[in-house]
Structures are given as C-alpha cells and as structure tokens.
Symmetry: D3
Subunit: 247 residues, 6 copies
C-alpha cells in the first residue's frame, strides 16, 4: 500500500520531520511518499496561509492518485483543504487534526491540544467543535512560530513543555495532542516525560489511512463529497479545472 503524506507548506526540512514520523508509524509493507507542496506559503499560520496552501496540496494529491497512491494525509494541523481534497479524490484523505482527535478519544476522556501560535488557537477550536470534541478537548497555544520547531536553539521545546504542564494542571488533561505537524517527532519523548498519552497527528493519520485502505473504505461520493462537476476554470488556476463527474 502506498500513502502520500503531503506537507502543505513549502518548507522541505519540515517535510523530512513529517516523513520520518510517518515512516515510523507505518505498517510493514506500507510505502510512505512524503511530498513538499510545490507552491504556497512556507508555513501555515492562520486562515490566510491556509487558503493559499490548498492549491498546492490538491495538486500533490491529484498527482499521487494518478500515480497509484492508495490514500493521502494532509500534514497540517489545521486540516487545510481537507473537504476539497475529499471531494476531488477517489482515494481516502486524512487530516492530522481529525486523526489525532479520534485516537485521543480512545485513550482519554479529556485532553488538550497544544499548538503553535495564538492565531491558530481559534481556528483549531473550530475544528474541535466540528469534530464533536468540544466538551472533551481544550486548545492552547505555546506562542512558538511554526518554523521555530525546526531550530533547536529557538527555545520552542521549552515553551511547548511549559504549556503542556499548564494543560495537565489547569485543564486536568488526561492526554496531550500535539497541535502542529512540525512536532511529529516529539510525541514519544514527551509521553515518556509526562506519563500521559501524547498523540502526534501525522502518525495517527498514517495508521487511519491504512485502516481505511485495508477495509476497502473510500470517500463517499454521495452528497457533500460528490465528484466536482465539469466546468470551466479561468486564470492562473485553469489547470485545476475539473473534468467532471455525476451531479
């Protein structure tokens, strides 16, 4: 089985972190294809960056589907472009926030997401609401820029740990969810430090993607995720024009 893991920002070093976690998580026999988006923002910090990450990640998913990928993972905790990708692709597509929350819910009744910047907190709260976890899950920001996670000297790890401690004490969190793909490599270490489950969404999504493929479950093409209808697209986005499907 082949699973695409697309980093929807254009920072290749973060793709490496993500790829390493994805490969560690994958079953024997699963091939992980990690791809950096070919266009758009260098990091995704808020709604504006999100919007411009979508064409690149959809292009990557479309291409990998054509070349035989069985499932795709969008490795950004905002689950950027997830609905559009599910409508576009035939293969299953996973977001790392949704995947992480689903595993967290199996091992804890109350948990806290610790993300990067304050500006991402409310958008993630929106996802938590949408995924039905609002009574169980809080969101905190550690005030660390996304790319600072790539830089050991940035102090990002310390800030993250401080916020985890607040989550354990004030929220009485029973588990921690890491709220950024760039934290994917830290889950096991933090779990050992704090003695509670620490969930990385990249790993979670890879495993959930495998589950869907193994069980023969594809995105429903009935209703909200129906195949895009054929119609003209114009301007620089012409190449994304859908060739059609049933209404």
């Amino acid at each position: 089985m082949r699973i695409l893991v697309v980093n929807p920002n254009t920072t290749a070093s973060m793709t490496e972190t993500i790829a390493a976690s994805a490969k560690l998580a994958a079953s024997f026999g699963t091939e992980i294809v990690a791809v950096t988006s070919a266009m758009g923002p260098a990091s995704i910090e808020g709604y504006y960056d999100e919007a411009f990450a979508v064409p690149g990640l959809l292009a990557a998913i479309a291409e990998s589907e054509r070349s035989g990928a069985d499932a795709a993972v969008i490795a950004c905790f905002d689950d950027t472009g997830l609905d559009a990708a599910r409508a576009m692709a035939s293969i299953p597509v996973l977001g790392i926030c949704e995947a992480a929350l689903s595993l967290a819910a199996f091992v804890a009744q109350r948990f806290t997401i610790v993300t990067t910047l304050e500006r991402s907190r409310v958008p993630i709260e929106g996802l938590v609401q949408r995924y039905g976890m609002a009574t169980r899950c809080k969101v905190r920001a550690a005030d660390i820029p996304v790319l600072s996670l790539e830089d050991p000297a940035s102090g990002a790890g310390e800030r993250l740990r401080e916020e985890i401690i607040v989550a354990l004490e004030e929220d009485r969190a029973e588990a921690i969810v890491l709220g950024c793909a760039g934290m994917a490599d830290m889950a096991r270490e933090l779990q050992a430090e704090y003695g509670v489950p620490v969930i990385d969404g990249v790993s979670a999504a890879v495993r959930q993607a495998e589950a869907l493929v193994a069980l023969g479950l594809m995105t429903s093409k009935r209703g909200a995720y129906a195949t895009p209808l054929a119609k003209p697209y114009s301007g620089m986005l012409k190449s994304f024009e859908p060739s059609g499907g049933a209404a």
Copy 2:
C-alpha cells in the same frame, strides 16, 4: 462610502444580477463596485470549486482595499474564503450566508434556507452550525445548477418555488432564506407570493457592511483574524505573499 461586492465565480452575467440587487439595497450615498473574479470556477458548487474561488476573490478584495473601498461583500452563499479575507483585509468583509441569517433571525424564530444543489446542502449546514443557528434553521436543496438560475427557460424558478412550499409546510418555516447569490433578484417577488419574509443575502450583506462602516467597526486584528505574518510564498501563488504584520 464605497462597498466592493465580489462575485467569486467568473460568470459575468451573475455579477450583473448581484450588482443590481446590491445597488437596490444600498443607502443613498453608497457606491457599489461589483467585480467578477478574475480567476477560478465559473460557478461554485461544492467544496472543490470553493477552494479555487478563494485566490480570485482575495485578489479582488485586496485590490479594492488599496483603491479605497470601505468594506467588501463576498457574494457566494458558501461564505467562501470569508475567514481568509477577514484576516487579510483591514476593511470589514461580509459573507452573504452569515448576513442573511442574521437578518432572518430578527424577523422569524424558525426559517429555512433553500439552496441550489444537494452537494451544497451539507456545507451550508456546516455554516448554519457555525453561526449558531442550527436549532432554528433548516437547509434544503432545490436541485438546480447554479447557472440555470441565469436561464429563464431552465425551470429553476419552478423548482425553487416547489421547495419553498415544502419548507413552509414540512419545516413550518416562518421565513425563507435564498441560498445562492444568483437568486438575489427574486426575493421581493417570492415574498409577495408566499407572504413570509424572504431574505436575499446580497442585500443583507450590503446593509450590514454599511452598518459596520458607519459605526467605525473594523475586523479585529487581535486573535484569529490577526494580519498574516510576512513569509515567502512560492510558485504560481507567489503574488499573494503577505508583507507582514504583528504576530
């Protein structure tokens, strides 16, 4: 006061319908600038089209802000790109779904949105949930393609009326919200026919935009809608690279 009304699809004839409604709704002294998106899908029918409508509508808003617009209205009932636009712009930005629901709530306790295609029903239900109207508002699809609204021979008007009648009888709707910008010109006629308030989102948004401007209310730049941080964008979307703001 100058208000941009952007049609986020590329169909100029629909922009004309929208512009006419916007001008009819505007106060004396308000200039309506109606713009057709310069890139993207010819109509927005589902999540995929939505995603590719965003760059074009953001470009239109950014340009109009630079040339002195006081507020912007996104004339698609999916409130496409609304969060990104609010983060990007300093001027207030309105979506027509949110604006229509807010006026509907002032004149009725229970109401029903009648939209175009079934594939748009669930996305709009997501907006209804997000805007806190889920206990008051149902969503129905009349099974009419968006652009059929431009064609008097399409029978779209009849289908729309059939669904309004079902909404009045089965949902016991006290008001009807028209769930597509392309229906903007039909509100007054349908209101006369059915004797209940019929709300068009384009008109609603123009008036709400005027209200915000008159009262000196701009989008908060604290938290979720903070100005996008400066960072490199690459590829065909390079031109959207943000020049920065406070973290």
Copy 3:
C-alpha cells in the same frame, strides 16, 4: 424612515444618552424618535424589573406604530419584551443585545460582553445561548448599578475599564460588547483606548432596523410571532387587550 428607540426604563437622562447614540448611528434621512417608557422601573436590573418594563415599552411601540414609525428598537441589553413586541407589532423590532452580537460576530470570532451588575450576568448568558453565540461569547459584570453610568463621579467608567482589561487578558476577547444601553456613548472612546472593536447595541440596532426597513423585511406573522388573538383582558391591563388577528 422613522425609527422609534424606546428606553424601557423611566429615567429620562438615560434616554438622552441613548438618543444621542442612536442619532449618531442613523443614516442620513432617518428620523430617530427616542421615547422614555411612561411606566415601570427607573432602571432594569434583573428579571423582576424586566417584567414590569414590558407594558410600558409595548405601549410606546404600539403608539409609535400607529403614528407611522417604520421600526422599533428596545434599548435595554436584556432584550426585554422583545418576543412580545415582535408578536404585537407589524413593524420590525430590534433588541440591542441581539443586534450587538450580530455585528460583533462579523468582526471577531471571540468576544466578551461587559454588563453592569452580577445579577444581570446569567440572564444575558441566557440570551447569548438563545442567539447561538455561547461558544464565542463570554459575559462579565463590572459591578456597577445601571444609573451610576449617568454619574461621572461614580467611578463606573473605571470599573468598566478594569473588566474590559480582564476580558482581553483572560478571555482573550477579540472584541468587546457593551452590555447596557447606558454605555452607548462610550463605544468609540473605548475602541480607541483598547484597539479592538467595541460594539454598542443601540447603534447596532438602529442600523439593523434601517436594514430591515430598506429591504422590506417585516416580522413574520407565521408561527411564533403570529398576531395576538382577540380576547378579553381584565384589570389594570385592560387597555392592552388585543383586537385580534388570524389564528
């Protein structure tokens, strides 16, 4: 267009504050008629006062409708008597809490209402719940009696500012809603001080009332707001007896 703004308490000096804000907010060509309720409590602080403010405000609305008003605004943040007024009148009726929240939602994802007394906090939380804003909006009380807002020496302004600062820091509010009609004149000043949108409900309601009138939207008489049925009323409230309408 003529809009009634009724102060449902009997304190004329507060009506002046309200009238000034309403006039400042109104469009060119809108006539604001500000009326002090002719009976009932001198200020509305809790459920009991609310109940006895209703006859006076309904009398004022009925009279102004007879003399040609196009819409009415109830200038008390508890939205006192709003449902009864909508059932009674043909013209649109706005409450200032509902109107303020609808504008706040256009400019911020998270906001906090700062009201006067603790005893009003839970009733306003009930409104926030009813209007679908519970996940986005907190309510705080500054512990200031309503009429102290009329007295510059009362220290009410200082207490209000202290609570706004708490809202910004602890709630991470992106905007502030002023939770009493008596604060209507402070919005612009506070907005300048704190750099976030500060919304006054009186101004918001005036503008929303104009929007409804301009768009030809009246309260639905189907369902919950159906015209009161003709029936005998007795005792001191005899004069409010409804002359009837369709069941």
Copy 4:
C-alpha cells in the same frame, strides 16, 4: 403546608380544572390554594398574552407569600413569569413545564409535549432547549384554542388524541407530556388509553413544590434570582415597586 396554585389567565373555570388536579396530586396535609389572576388575558396563547399575564400572577404570588404560603405553582405551560417570580419571592416557585419535564425524564428517555396552538409550539421549544431536554423531547401542537378545552363539544379531546397518536408513531415517544394547564384533568385517562406515562404539569409541580418545602430548599438569592433592588416604579405599575434587598 400551603401551596398556591395560580392560574395566570383570568378564566375561573380553568382554575377549577387546575385546582382539582392540584388537590388530587397533593399529599395528605397539604393545603392547595387555587387563585385566578385578577388581571390580564383570559387565556395565554403566545408571547403577547404571556407578557400581560405576568403582573397578575406576580401579584397573586406576592399576596399569598405575605399570607403564609410555602410555595407557589404557576399553572401555565409557558412557565410565564417564572424567572421574575423566583427573583421576587422567598418561597419556591415552580413552573408546570419545567416540573413536567423533570418527571417525564425519570420515566422515559424520549417524550413529546402536545400543546394547544401552533403559535405556542416554538415558545415551548425554547423552554425545552433552556431546560436541557432538546435531544429528548419534541413539541407538537394539536391546533386547539386553550379555552376550547373547557368545552366538551369543541372536539378538542379528539384533536389531542390524534396528535398523541402521531407522537407515538412518528416521534416514537415513550411518554406524553400534556402541554397546557387546561389539560390537567385528562392525564390519567389518556395514560390508561395509550399505555404510556402521560404527565400533567400541574400535578408534577405541586409534588415538586412539596419536595422543595419539605427539604427546606428555597430559591437561591445569590446571583440571577437576587431580591429585586429598591427603586421607583411609575405609572399604573407603581404598586409593584420593590422595597429592596441586597445588591
């Protein structure tokens, strides 16, 4: 123990129906004092009537408290004036909707309220929402005027039965709640006919009132139900002016 049961409409024949049910429900040793409101509407059908029923019912409760009643029941299914009464009185005050729902929840997971007129359906849905029963309880209207329940020839009983059957079949209701005080005498008969619990709010409220009195539980005077503050009331409502309490 003495319990006031106030019929907040002015129709004495309905008070008799209510009084009979209340007396049947009361424990040995409980005195039921049934009072018809001295002012206001002859029946309560919608928000407008509700508002004008409040002064009369508050007067009745205040007077009975002065003369030694231990608790009060407001015998209208809209729970008219309940919050104001709780703020005003020291003795516990029960609404029959809230009381009926609490007993229904002890004997069934899903139940349906059958009320009189369609115009009362949405207001009662608001109560169901407020009392936290929205996932368990539906509301239906049998389209019968309140006072037709007093007239055996009106066919009201037949219409009520028709709607109960729909509730059992379509809602899969496990129990029925009678949604009008005027139906108080029909509960046992309907229960025998349909073989499911049928709950009358008047009886439920009398028993809940007894429970509160026996256990020494009075309305909290901390927060939302704090004693009304002393202040001038003017006009015809002057007599309701509160003499004060702690802020």
Copy 5:
C-alpha cells in the same frame, strides 16, 4: 407507600447515613426500606467499581419489587445501573444525581456539584451532560475517599467546605449539590453555613419517587426501557436471567 433505598456499595455504616436522610425526607405515611447491596464493592469510586455494583443493586431492587415496594432509589451519585434498573423494574427507579439536579434547577440557575475523588469528576460530568445541565452545572472534586466521609477524624468535612467556597467564588455557584450519597446528612448544616441551597440527592430522590408513585407514573415500557426479553444467561449470573416480556 414503600420506597426502597438501596446503597449499591456494601458498607453498612453508609447505608445508615443514607437511611437516616431518606427517612427525614419522606412524607408521613411513606415507609423507607434501606438495604445494603449484598455483593460488590465496599465503595464506588470510578467506572470499574460502578460496573460491579450493578448486579447487587439490581438484585435488591428486584427483590423489593416482588415484596411490594412502590419505587426504588439508587443511592450512589454516579446513578450506577440506573438504565438497567429502569428496564428491569415495573416500579419507578430514581438515581440521586438526576434527582438532585432536577431540584437544584428549580432553585438556582447556576450550581456546582462537589464530589469526592477526582476520578469521579469526569463520570459525573458525563451525567450532567446527559441530563441537559452542562451549561448550568460545574463539577468539582474535594479529593476525599468515599469512606472517609464515615470517619469524623478524616478531615473530609474540611476539604468539602474548602471546595464549596471555591465553587461559590470561582464558579459563582448559586447553589451546591452534594456529589456523594455519603454526604446525605450534611446538607442542612452546610446550607445554614453558606446561605445558599445545598441539595442532597438521597432526600431529593425519595421525594421524587413519592411524586411518581402518587401520580401513578411508572417507567415507560415502550422503547429504551422495554422489559428485558427472555433469553438464557449463563455462568455465575445465571440467576439474573430474564423471564421475558414483549419485544
């Protein structure tokens, strides 16, 4: 009328505390039969203990029903086994959490449950959610083992009082609900100390049980609480095999 009050843990001294409160709460003419479960855990602290308390409490309810009890109360604040008991028995069955919350809601808009151990906090939050009280009710743990309530020297009373004070100050609780059957004897004393309603679930449930019996309300056997179908049970639980009922 005879009411079974079953202590679902096996600690007889706690049954005495419970019995005393139940008898104090009961009406003249009500016989309280207090029973200690014959099998299972000595105290119920978390989900695991809960599961093993169920057979014993169901056995006690079945036996008391056979010998003529009119209703049953399960005296554990987790409402352990409540759904199974309602399905099994013909007589009404009350849980003390549900009963306490229903009375609390009649005397306060906002209240806080103070329970024993942190591990019981989230399970009780689950009940609060299920009973529709999540917007009104907080849950706190005083960190006192259940059986320490039986030991005056344990300091449990002091810890409980500390947490009540936090609830009053931080939650702005208007009433307190005692979150353990073992606290049943403390309600009146604490109410006197803090000047707010303090609700004990055992007393509340006894009174609610009386209400149901007096009004002829039995658990609905339609739907979720249908009589268990006849079928073989094997192993040590063979004796609980149901003899059948309608599907």
Copy 6:
C-alpha cells in the same frame, strides 16, 4: 501483536462471525484471539442485558491482558462496559461503535447507523451524542433480533436492506454503519450493493487497536480511567476485587 476480540454475549456462533471479520481486517503479523464471554446473556438487547455482559467481558479482558494481549476489542455495538474496561486494563480497549463512527467520519459527512431492535436505538443514540456525532449521524432499527442474524432463513438480511434504503433516501445518508457485531460479515457485500461506504465496527476496532499499539498509545491512567483503587468486593463478584493502584 496480539489483539483480543471479546464477544460479550455467550453465543459462540456469533463469535465465529466476529472472529472471521476481525481476522480479515487485521494486518499481517497481528494475531486475533476471539473469545466468547464465559457468563452472562446469550445476546445483548437493551440496557439490562448490557449490565450483565460486563463481568464476563471484563474477565476475558483481564485474563488476556495477563497472558500478553496488546489490545482488546469489545464486539458489541452498545460499547458495553467500555469505560470500566479502560479503567481496569493497561492495554488499550476499543468499542466497536466508537471505532466505526471514527472511520465513518473520515469518509462521509452524514451517515446512519442501522441496528437490530428498536429498544437498542435510543441507547445507541446516547453513544452517538457522547462521541460528538449527533449532528452527523442518525440511528435506525431494522426490527431484527440479534440472533436472527445467525439464521439465513430469518429474513433479517432483507429487513436490514429495507432500512438501509430508507436511510439513503430519507436521511440522505452518505455512508452506512452496521449497528451490530453480528452484521460484521455483511459490510463488503452491502457496500457493493449500495455504492456507499458501509462500515463494520469489528473491523474498524481491530484496525484502531493496531494503530494504538503501533504508536505506543495506552489508556491514560490520569483522571477518569485511573486504575481501580484496592478495596474489598464481596459476594459472587469477590473475584473481581481490584488489587489496587494510585488514587
């Protein structure tokens, strides 16, 4: 990796159906140990059966954990005993309802559970609510006894298909979730018939269990799932007495 799949009813033929699906779903290298509960009901149809299925399933999980299982799946769609099992065990425990819903949410926005008997519908709606899926997921009963699924001549398959068709048409379901472990072998066939994703909870739970084990995620022992405290158990359940853990 070794995964226990426990059938919490005592019908061995159903265990075979479950085991076959579990094995088909498992990854290469995963050993499935399918166990029939040694005590309790022959099928689980409603709350009463559920309660008596718990000791047997907990015994099976405890024993398999001692003999080296890495995770456990409870193969009953009511997620019987799930919380107690998570508190008891160190290894992860999955319920098939929760697992099925989490996969359904990855492939569809709206879906319907089709279960066996009407009496199980409301309990499953309770789970849907708890798992945060109430806005997305409906529950229907096909009116087929659980064990009729084992009998090809029972017509159960036809009834199930009829209800699936109603779900697709009336609920506009985009996917179907099979609401009974006894339907585990039908998912692929039904998926082929109806062209929408059909999810079997047994397969889903096996894959989710593998994911948790592979990622090193164990049930949090902080908070609600803390290890049961040591304490005496008496009577026939003595053998389940916990030997203790940290408070």
